[in-house]
Every structure is written in C-alpha cells, then in structure tokens.
C-alpha cells in the first residue's frame, strides 16, 4: 500500500515538473539519443531480416557450388544419386545489342529446373501485371528485365543480339531469385536458355563466366551432401549455403552498420551531456522542496525512491517516443540505402525497440542518478539556511558510471575491441583537444574586454563559466563538424576526384579481346583515325601456393581476401611497368633482358593476402602451375581508369598460356556510331562505359553520404540540446542580470547585443573547432584513403565560423527572449 502511495506521489511530482517545463530538455535529450540509435537499429534489423530467412530465395537453391571453371560432372552425379534436385546456371557479362544501341548486360544461362527455390515472375509487357513463370525461356527466346527494354528501346516480341545469336524477347522479368549480387547491382539482366549458349559463341578464353551448380532437396540430405562435398572441394570451388549466403554484402553491410551505429552513439554521448546538465539544474531547483519534505518527515530512502520512480517513468515514456521517431526515420535510411541492397526490406522486428529502451534508460539513469542521490541527502537545515547547498554530487566522479555505460555501448556496437578502443580513445582525445582549444580561445578573447559594455557583459558571462562554455562549444562544434564534413568537405573530395581525371582519360574499356582479334581491332581503330590503343595481355589464374605452401580461402578471415583466393586473378606481362604505378618495395625489372621468374604485385592485395617481397607465388593457369618470386610491390592509382593489374610478370613467364587482351580508349562524345560498328564487328567484346560506372559510384557515394548525413542530423540536434541545457542552467542568473541591467538604465537593444555577443562567440568558437575537425577529417580521407591532394577549403572555415556564429547567436537570442520580457521588479523581488 505504502509503495503504491509512493508511486502515485512520484507520478504526481512528474506531472507537475513536466508541466513547469523542468523536464522538457531531459526528455528531448533522451528522445534524440533513442531516436538516433533506433533509426539505425530498425534499418539494420530490416536488412538482416531480408538477408536471413530469404537466403534460399536469394540463392535460388539450398546450396550453390560455384567456380570460374566448369564444375566436374561427379558433383552433380553424386547430388542426383542422393535424390537431390540439380540444375546448372552460368552467369557472365556480355553486350546486348539492337541496331546501334548496346548495353552491358548480365547474362544468366539457365537449364530445366531453374529456379529450385524462389520464383521468377514475368509480365507480357512493361508494367503489365506479372505472374509466376512456368519453366524457363524456350530456345531462341529470352526474358529480359525492364532496363534492357528501356536502354535498348525495344519491346516484348522484338529481337536483340547477344554474341552471334538473334534472340526474341518473350517476356519482361519482374522478379528473380539470386538477384542481389552486391552493392553495385550487376547490369540489366537477360535470362537465356542453356541450349542457345553455344550459338552465341561467347564462351571463349578469358570470358568471365561463373558456373553455379544449384542444389535443393530435403534439409538432411542437403546437409549430408554438403558434408560429403566439403572434403572434396578443389581450390576455387566454393559452397554457399543458406547460412553463408552473400558474405560480401553482409560484410559490407556490417561495416556500414558499425559506422552508422557509432555515428548514432556520438549523439548519445552529446545527449548524455545534455541530460547531466539538465539534471543538475533539476537538482538545484528541487533542493528546497526536498529539504522541506525531509523536515516534514520524509526519509532519505523515501525521497530517493520517489525520484527514482519519477525518472524511470520519464525515461520509459521519452524512450518510447524516441523509438517511435526512430521507426519513422528509418524509412529515410531504407530509401537511400535500401536500393543498394536490391531486396525488398521486410518489416523490422521488435529487437531495436528493446535496444532503444535500454539505451534511453541506461542513459537517463546513469546521468541522472548522481543528482537523485544528492537530492536524497539534502540537509534538513537548508530550510533555515539556504546557503547550505547540495551535498556534493562528487563532481566528475559521479558521472564515471555514465561514461562507463556509454563506453560500454560503443564497444557493444563496434563489436570489435580494436575499433571500440579506437573510437573511445580517439573520441575522448579529440574532445580533450577541442576542449583545450576552446579554453585557450576563450582566454584569448577575454583580452578584448574593453570593447564596450554589451560585449564585455556577454564575454564575461562566458569567462565566468568556463566549463559550461567549453562544454557548449564542444557539443555544438561536434554537431557542426558532422554537418561541414558531409556537405562542403564531401563536395570538395568529389570535385577533387573528378578533377584528377584528365578530360581525355580513357572512358571505355574493351575486355575479352581474343588473340586473333588484336590485328583486326588495330585496323578498326586505324581506319577511324583513332590512336591504336595499347593491348594488354590478360591471363586468368588462381593463386594456389605461397612459398610452396597451399593456400585456401579458409586461411583468411577477411571476406575480400577469401573471395580473391576463390576467384581467378588477372595476370599480365609487360616489359615495362605502367607509368602511373609507383614502386613501394623492391625494384622494377630492366626493360630488356629481365629474368622471367618475377612478379610485381599491387601492394594493397599483397597486404590483404599477407604476401611480402621475395615470397614465391604459384598460380594454377588452366591446369599448369607457374611459380615466380615477388620482386616488387606497386601502388596503383585505380581512379586513373587506366588498365591495371594486381600481378604483372616480365615477358617470358606467361606467354603460351590461354590469353585474351584488354585495352582502354577515349571515345569522343557524339561518336556512338563507332561503338555500334565495333560491337557489330566484334560481338564477343565487352565494352565497359567508365562514365556510367563513375556515375554509379557517385550515385552510391551520394546515397551513402545522405544516409550518414541523416544520422549526423541527430548529432547536430543533440548538440543543440546541450547548448540549450547549458543555457537553461544559467537562466536564473541571466534573468537576474538582465533585471539589474534594466534597473541601471540598460535599453533592450543593449541587452540584446550583450546576449548576441555571448552566443555569437560560442557559435564562432564552435564553428572554428568544427572547421578544424572537418578539414582534418577531409585531409585524412583525401590523402590517406583516396590518394588525392587535399586543398584546404577556406569555405569550410568561413561557413563554420559564419554559420556557427550567426546560427547560435540567433538560437541563443530566441532562447533568452523570456529574460527580456519580465518586468525587472518582479524578477528582483523573486530573487530577493
């Protein structure tokens, strides 16, 4: 009974405090933190749900064995013997053509039985109602997706050319399994009957064909078969089951998830600061009431229980509202990032809701707890002597718990000790540096105190509360930094990247050139008075040994390394290494008389695969082992869009192996005719439009950065809440000051100027720190990550200081208008 009474009383107190606006800032801070975390949480949950149960739908089977070479019949025979359904699919890129239009398509060659799991849906014409397809296209017919129709300007019933074969479009494909192939979705799709493959003439040396044997059946039989197969896998063969579907998407998403989560946690950290500030003010305003309740017989324990219930209910309500905001806001993330995953996202589960509640409650209780404990311990004597303040809430030590909780959350979200440590230490370090910088700047402007009463009044306010000022400056600085990085700095980087490409840089790649096509191709270019492009030989081989020891995907933890081992490398030979490659270790071979047994390796892939200078690599090239020593490591500028290779040998090592050629050239604009003629004459060639790839990469960068920007919006909001919380904590003092100033003859304008000066200084300092942080980040990204030279953008500094100063001055002005609106006498009397 007593407990119920206490709870009732706590709720009454809560309602009263809420009405008086004492809790608004705390509630808003919790909401923002929870909204930030759940926005990311709901989105990643949806992506995970999309990738998990639908995995066999994504796979098109229960099990897929894939390889760059044809799979031995023994595997499918064994599967059939075990009563499993089997079908083989081939997948490769090729040009699809109609008249003078052509497009790089993703060709899927399927046989009877496809798909074993999931369904293909087709329609009779574009945007007509679709239906489940029965079987596969008849020989001579293809099913294509909407992009083929629009990019080649064809309709159902018309013919397109693939390789040497004319094929009639029988239907539009609206849905297919195994469509989600990666972050940059593959080209427009063509579904082709396996019986037509030979006639296209597209299976040749160097063709980038991926063979996929799809298997489905009773779960135990599939498991047993997998067990049987795993022991017999040859290098390059790879099993994908439902559990390990799409590891590359998954690892990319995991990285994105971590990043977004950490960005969201920055807002949690700022929200924590706001809560700590607001809770302190709450404490100060409630000391009298608590002292009185103690006088009237409330025990310490009772008071603490009262406020514990009070804050718990507040936290729950605010967290739930935050979750609701997050649930709505994640739609925006799904809009920007969902298209990159290329699957329909299912509805989220309730798990992110739990995460949101835990975050909100942990945040509120760990940062509001020290003041609550202090409230319970208020000396009863305070009713007689008001100067008996709060029993010390042990200052920073009281918040150690809170910061431990946040650090814990960061480790949890980072899911990686190193990354977590990096973020926690890096962030604390950055805060410390920013704090010291803000403090030093504050000292410096204090020297300008003789600049008039308004200015002095404003700046004095800052100087007298250095801690609060520094906290405000850092919080706002972080928010602004996030904003600057993602607007100005991002544009700078994009601009620098585009400018780094000369206007006549190659804009088309030609892949798949056969040995006997080199001479005719050179003639083709000569006839059109175009410079003969350099033909680079390309040989495909699988890395099977490093220093005589066999390597398999299982030796690597990194997903990209695994993939690289499973797939075939493109190797080349050249007397001279490409001019834009820079040797980082070892030496380049002489142009003449080089020893043949050497490799030059790109340093990034070498690092990923753990290959060092002087290691001996053995490649399996069409069944022939070829071994050579790594004598140099190179840095390759992939952004140059020149043809580059991970591995290059001097002449003499690789000749005689099955070879195809690759080249790049600059196709002047308004020369589509040449491209049409080229494909007509050489139908097996793949023409890769670099401009299109670039546009796609850019689109992706824009989408990803929009998503990040969106999450950083919560950071900015949280920064503003810190600002308001710090401002609110000094509101009483400000009101007194303004009243005294008014009494002494200050005009409204003078007071307004004083407040504007104060907030403009906070805003400009924050802007300065934000610009420094954003430029630093831009520099690191440009120089370390993107290999671009970085131009310090004066705009970031101008925008940071200008926008920061003006924006915060304005925000502060609106926040303190109430100070000016109260008649001075009322204020003086209240405070007397």
């Amino acid at each position: 009974m007593k407990l119920i009474q206490e709870i009732r009383m706590a709720l009454r107190l809560l309602a009263r405090d809420f009405r008086s606006g004492e809790l608004t800032l705390i509630a808003v801070a919790v909401m923002i933190a929870v909204a930030g975390v759940t926005t990311v949480g709901f989105f990643t949950d949806r992506v995970n749900l999309a990738l998990n149960p639908q995995a066999n739908q994504l796979l098109g089977a229960d099990l897929v064995i894939s390889n760059d070479r044809e799979l031995p019949a023994a595997i499918s025979d064994e599967a059939k013997r075990r009563q499993l359904n089997v079908t083989q699919m081939l997948r490769f890129p090729s040009m699809a053509q109609r008249g003078d239009k052509n497009v790089l398509a993703d060709i899927k060659v399927v046989a009877k039985g496809y798909p074993l799991r999931g369904e293909v849906r087709i329609a009779d014409k574009l945007y007509a109602e679709d239906r489940r397809a029965q079987g596969i296209p008849e020989p001579g017919f293809v099913w294509v997706d909407e992009r083929i129709l629009s990019q080649l300007s064809v309709t159902v019933g018309e013919k397109i050319v693939i390789g040497n074969r004319d094929l009639q479009i029988a239907a539009v494909m609206t849905q297919e399994p195994d469509a989600a192939v990666g972050f940059i979705n593959a080209g427009p799709r063509v579904l082709l009957n396996a019986d037509d493959l030979a006639a296209t003439g597209l299976v040749q040396t160097g063709s980038r064909i991926r063979y996929r044997l799809q298997i489905a059946g009773v779960a135990e039989a599939v498991d047993e078969f997998r067990e049987w197969l795993e022991g017999r896998l040859e290098p390059g063969q790879r099993i994908e089951g439902i559990r390990d579907a799409r590891p590359e998407i998954r690892s990319a998403l995991e990285r994105a998830e971590k990043f977004l989560n950490i960005a969201a946690l920055v807002s949690v950290l700022l929200a924590a600061t706001a809560i700590a500030l607001a809770a302190r003010r709450f404490l100060q305003r409630h000391l009298d009431a608590c002292a009185m309740m103690r006088c009237l017989g409330a025990s310490q324990g009772q008071l603490m229980r009262l406020y514990f219930v009070h804050f718990t209910v507040l936290g729950l309500v605010a967290s739930l509202i935050g979750c609701a905001i997050g649930a709505a806001a994640q739609q925006a993330l799904a809009y920007w990032l969902g298209s990159l995953v290329a699957v329909d996202l299912p509805r989220a589960s309730l798990q992110p809701l739990m995460q949101g509640l835990v975050t909100g409650m942990a945040l509120l209780l760990s940062f509001a707890l020290p003041p609550i404990i202090a409230l319970g311990r208020v000396p009863t004597m305070r009713v007689l002597r008001r100067d008996l303040g709060a029993p010390g809430s042990r200052g920073a030590a009281g918040y150690a718990l809170g910061y431990a909780v946040i650090a814990g959350m960061i480790f949890w979200k980072a899911d990686d000790l190193r990354l977590g440590t990096f973020v926690v230490v890096g962030f604390s370090g950055a805060m410390l540096v920013a704090g010291l910088a803000a403090w030093a700047l504050l000292k410096a402007i204090a020297g300008l105190r003789n600049a008039g009463v308004s200015w002095r009044f404003g700046v004095n306010n800052l100087r007298r509360r250095p801690l609060a000022t520094v906290v405000q400056v850092i919080a706002l600085g972080l928010g602004l930094m996030a904003l600057l990085t993602l607007t100005l700095i991002r544009n700078d980087l994009l601009g620098a990247w585009q400018a780094s490409l000369p206007p006549d840089a190659p804009n088309r790649f030609l892949v798949n050139i056969q040995d006997d096509q080199v001479a005719p191709l050179n003639r083709f270019f000569a006839q059109r008075k175009t410079a003969e492009p350099v033909m680079h030989p390309m040989i495909r081989g699988r890395l099977v040994q490093i220093n005589g020891r066999g390597v398999t995907a299982a030796d690597y933890a990194d997903e990209r390394a695994k993939r690289q081992i499973e797939r075939e490398f493109n190797l080349s030979w050249a007397a001279k290494l490409p001019r834009d490659n820079r040797i980082t270790a070892g030496e380049a071979w002489p142009e003449t008389g080089a020893q043949p047994g050497q490799f030059s390796m790109e340093d990034g892939i070498a690092a990923r695969l753990g290959v060092r200078l002087h290691d001996r690599l053995t490649f399996d090239i069409a069944g022939t082992p070829i071994t050579a020593t790594v004598t140099s490591l190179r840095k390759v500028d992939w952004d140059s869009f020149n043809v580059n290779f991970f591995l290059i040998a001097p002449p003499g090592l690789l000749e005689g192996q099955p070879v195809s050629y690759v080249t790049s050239f600059h196709l002047p604009p308004r020369n589509a005719e040449m491209l049409g003629a080229l494909i007509q004459q050489f139908p097996n060639l793949l023409v890769i439009d670099v401009a299109q790839v670039m546009a796609q990469v850019q689109r992706m960068m824009t989408q990803v950065s929009k998503a990040i920007q969106f999450v950083f919006l919560f950071t900015l909001l949280a920064g503003l809440v810190v600002f308001y919380a710090a401002m609110a904590s000094t509101q009483d003092e400000r009101i007194q000051q303004a009243a005294v100033m008014r009494t002494l003859g200050a005009s409204r304008a003078q007071l307004t100027r004083a407040h504007l000066a104060e907030f403009a200084v906070i805003g400009m300092l924050a802007g300065l720190i934000a610009a420094a942080g954003a430029s630093g980040l831009g520099y690191v990204l440009a120089v370390k990550v993107l290999n671009l030279s970085y131009n310090w953008s004066p705009l970031a500094w101008l925008a940071g200081v200008g926008l920061g100063g003006a924006g915060i001055a304005l925000a502060g002005y609106f926040g303190t208008r109430r100070v000016m609106a109260t008649p001075p006498m009322r204020v003086l009397r209240e405070l007397a």
Partner: protein, 224 residues
C-alpha cells in the same frame, strides 16, 4: 526648477489579479518629494512599500495614477525610455545588493556609466570605490566580498552617475547591526555631499529617524 517637485505621485494604484481574485496593493497614493529631501517609506509587511518604490522607478507599471520625475510623466515613456531616464537620474540600493556576479567590483560600478555611453568612467568609478573604502577590493568579484562590502559597492554604483534621486529598498535588511550602521552612515554622507533626493523603504526605526520626512503606508493607502 525649484517649483517642480523631484518626484510627484498622484492617485497611484496597483492591482494584481491572481486567479479570480483581484488584490489591491496600492490605492490612490499621492504625495510629492522636493529636491534634496530624504523620505522614509515605512509600513508593515505587505503594505505596498516596495511596490511604491518600484513604481517610482518605473520598474513596474501601475494600474492607475501617475508618477512624474522632475516633471516628466514616467509612464508616458516606453520601457526603453524609462530605462534611459533611470540611467540618467536615478540610483538604486537593494536589500540583496544585486551586484552582477560575472563582474568585478570596479566593473559593477562602471556598468551604469558604460550603459549611458560615458567616456573615461574608470577614474570616476575608482575614485568612488576609494571613497566607500574599497580601494583594495577593485578587482574582486562579488562572491569574494562580505555583505557590507557588497552593499558598499552597490552604493558606489548608485552614486557613480551622480543621480538626482537615490532609491533604496531595505538597504540594511541583509546586514548585521554594526555593518548596517556603517552603510547608513555612508549613504547619508554621500547624499549630503551630492545633494541627492533620497527615498528609502525601511523597517529600521533608526534609519527612518534620520530622514527629513516619514511616509506611512497601511493596506496600500497613505496614513496621515
């Protein structure tokens, strides 16, 4: 000039409404104060003394009646006009000192001069702080000063613009008897030196006894 009273109050009334009940704080108060006079306003708690003082300074607005300062109708001016008039011709001393915590003693005294745009006020402010015996305390913040010292800073601040009128609200209310006596002494000395018109609200019999006239308020009305 001698014909115009320093302060003229006619039919001044103030009502406040809390909820549905209207409370009359001042009701038809009229009197005038001639230049150089020292007037004490006395009365029980809640008799309307402080409200009267606030209205005389234009810190609050009346429900009815007029206040004229040297012939100027105070409430014909807007807020900023009243603030400028205060800055020009009034000084204030409060029971709770009301110093600005973010400023040193010297800066606090400088504020009214700076607000009025007076150049070279520093010497004047320093001299006045010396006059009130705080030459060693110029750069101390209010927090670092005793109650008596804070009130002396407030007195220096009140006199720094050489106002024609000094308004004081229970100036000794927060001080012990000995310190209070010192502060009263100082205030009257400066008042004499500068020939200021003084109006003070007080409970302190000793203080009111030193004034040339005592005005008594009861229930918001003037008592004979």
């Amino acid at each position: 000039m001698s014909g115009t009273p320093a302060i003229e109050i006619s039919q001044l009334g103030k009502q406040v409404t809390t909820g549905s009940t209207a409370l009359t704080i001042l009701d038809g108060v009229s009197f005038s104060v001639t230049a150089g006079e020292a007037v004490a306003v006395v009365g029980a708690s809640g008799s309307g003394k402080s409200t009267l003082l606030a209205l005389m300074a234009g810190l609050d607005t009346p429900t009815s009646g007029k206040v004229a300062i040297a012939g100027q109708d105070l409430f014909a001016l807007n807020e900023d006009g009243r603030a400028a008039l205060r800055g020009r011709s009034m000084g204030f001393v409060f029971q709770s000192f009301q110093l600005l915590a973010s400023m040193t003693a010297l800066e606090n005294v400088l504020v009214p001069l700076e607000l009025a745009g007076v150049q070279g006020g520093r010497e004047k402010a320093t001299a006045l702080l010396q006059r009130v015996g705080l030459s060693e305390r110029l750069h101390h913040y209010p927090k670092q000063l005793s109650g008596g010292e804070q009130q002396r800073v407030a007195i220096a601040r009140a006199f720094v613009t050489s106002p024609s009128i000094l308004l004081a609200d229970e100036p000794t209310g927060n001080l012990d008897a000995a310190t209070g006596a010192q502060v009263i002494e100082l205030m009257f000395e400066l008042n004499r030196e500068r020939n200021t018109t003084l109006v003070l609200v007080t409970h302190d019999e000793k203080l009111s006894a030193r004034c040339t006239r005592v005005i008594r308020l009861a229930g918001g009305r003037l008592q004979a």
